[in-house]
């Protein structure tokens, strides 16, 4: 009687297990000692794209088709070492030739008496997680530009629309803020990406040379001009021409540049017929062009011609949150370039980098990392691997113990400066800093910033 009941419960239990296996979202299959599949659940069918009747009886590697099968099979390790393995990341190739990222767990399959009869493998489709992770990562990346700061995110958000248009773009930012990278990103996102991207530094050449470089010349245009030479405008035909340091162009050349942008045609030196130019121009400068216009050193008409869409690239000191991201990027790049294996940067060294003001912006940070990699033989970059010039900029040791302290000190500095600049008007300072006024008040309290009794509002009210 008792034996019959046990048998009944055993059968019921097996049914319940089968139902559970059929209704979970993880793929499960079992194998015997000869690596043949003995069971294959519904989720396994969905993830691999292989019907159960075709999977059962086949070798597991013919069905699962993972990059681990050949070299580092988790089931093989489990069978050999007699212990389970959890959360091994890998990918499989499904029936539609698509790589599916999966996380795998393996364990031994034993019968009632504890004898090993095979192995069991469960796997979870990680496609959605991978996709979300990638999307999240992409939010901080655009081409070779990497940033998680709010100001750069705003630029990232509008960049595809700007790239899609044919309008001339003006990139303004201090030296080393990545103007050329941004120009390249614009080109790569634009419909012109299959055509050339040509860059030209206008500040480096005298007028005559600049003219022949940009517009080219015809054979016989001057002594030793034995053959036609295409200019950068001709080379960039159908693509993008990046004019760097456009603020340094002489007033005489500004007129020629204006004509090209206005008429969309140019005249090579010595030519008698103008050449049509289907080129998108991206200009950049590290100067304030509107100030140059006010001074009278930059033509107003040219300014309006190139200032159709303007992108302001913030200096690195205004987006300190990007420093760890950039450091990581540069270490990876130099590791690959120099065949090195530097693990990262220590907390103390990063705190020093966070406290620096970077007059040379991202280029300066890149050089600092390159310097550190030369001096750092292995392991992590430590403070003594950083250039000596950075050391005096470190505040007193207790305050730079952590990144948090360095950030606090930088925040305090920025808030105090912004308040002073705005005559202690909290709302104006908050706007300038790009934060809400309550956040500013909270930060003033938290950082213990002492303010004078006057504030911008009372001051203004008294004025009239």
């Amino acid at each position: 009687m008792a034996g019959g009941l046990n048998k009944k419960y055993s059968l019921l239990s097996r049914n319940v297990t089968d139902i559970i296996l059929e209704n979970i979202s993880d793929g499960v299959f079992t194998i015997n000692h000869t690596w043949h599949i003995t069971s294959f659940n519904r989720a396994a069918e969905t993830i691999t794209g292989i019907p159960r009747d075709q999977a059962i009886g086949r070798h597991c590697w013919e069905v699962f088709r993972s990059n681990m099968c050949e070299r580092d099979c988790a089931l093989r390790r489990t069978m050999k070492q007699g212990k389970p393995f959890v959360d091994t990341s890998t990918y499989i190739v499904n029936n539609r030739k698509r790589r599916v990222p999966v996380v795998v767990c393996t364990s031994l399959l034993k019968d009632k008496s504890g004898i090993v009869v095979g192995g069991v493998e469960t796997f979870r489709d990680m496609s959605t997680v991978e996709q979300l992770r990638k999307e999240l990562e992409d939010r901080f990346h655009l081409g070779d530009i990497v940033s998680r700061s709010a100001s750069m995110k705003k630029v990232f958000a509008v960049l595809p629309q700007i790239a899609d248009s044919y309008s001339t773009v003006l990139l303004q930012g201090e030296t080393g803020t990545g103007k050329e990278l941004m120009a390249r990103a614009l080109h790569d996102l634009s419909p012109r990406r299959i055509r050339p991207f040509i860059a030209m530094n206008c500040g480096a050449l005298p007028d005559t040379l600049l003219e022949s470089e940009l517009f080219g010349y015809k054979a016989g245009a001057f002594t030793h001009a034995t053959r036609d030479k295409p200019g950068r405008f001709a080379l960039a035909e159908g693509g993008t021409l990046f004019l760097d340091e456009v603020g340094d162009v002489s007033p005489a050349f500004q007129v020629r540049l204006l004509r090209v942008l206005q008429e969309r045609e140019f005249m090579p030196l010595g030519a008698i017929i103008p050449v049509k130019a289907n080129v998108r121009v991206i200009a950049s400068t590290n100067k304030d062009l509107s100030a140059l216009v006010a001074e009278g050193t930059f033509r107003q008409d040219l300014f309006y011609r190139i200032n159709v869409v303007r992108i302001d690239l913030p200096p690195l000191r205004d987006r300190r949150e990007d420093i760890p991201l950039l450091v990581e990027r540069f270490i990876t790049r130099f590791n690959n370039l120099r065949n090195r294996n530097i693990a990262g940067i220590s907390r103390d060294a990063l705190a020093i980098l966070m406290a620096h003001t970077y007059p040379g912006n991202i280029r300066e940070l890149e050089n600092i990392i390159e310097h550190a990699l030369v001096l750092c033989p292995k392991g992590q970059i430590e403070p003594h691997h950083l250039p000596g010039t950075l050391i005096p900029t470190i505040p007193s040791p207790p305050r730079t113990k952590t990144i948090g302290a360095a950030v606090k000190s930088a925040e305090e500095n920025e808030i105090t400066t912004a308040l002073k600049r705005n005559d202690y008007n909290r709302l104006a300072a908050a706007r300038e800093l790009g934060i809400h006024k309550s956040t500013l008040f909270r930060k003033i309290n938290a950082l213990g910033i002492r303010l004078p009794k006057i504030d911008g509002r009372t001051h203004r009210r008294k004025k009239p």
Binding site: Q54, F64, R65, C69, E70
Partner: protein, 123 residues
Amino acid sequence: MKVALTVWENRISPVLDSASMLVVIDIRKGMIVNKHYVPFYVELPHARAALLADLGVRVLICGAMSQLYENLIQAYGIQIISFVTGDIENVLDAYLKGTLSRRTFQMPGIQPMRRRRFRGGRG
């Protein structure tokens, strides 16, 4: 004509994307005249495709492969017979006899191959 097979423990490697060994076979007039093993350790997809082209491979017989690898290898003008399974000797024999399209040599879950006679050896 050179035919390459991805090998793992004397059988076709389950996934071309991570295969580590190739056997390259020279076939003339339906007979194997040369057979040698080539490490296939290169990781980058382009490098894998380029290595096959450098070896002068005209036909590649392999296990599962992702679309990326298929496109790259085909771009080098190499004919691909993928999602093949079985022992190397049997697969090669079937290829020479033109019976590789039989279900026994196909991985599960794949549409049956068109009735083609994959036969080399003319070169």
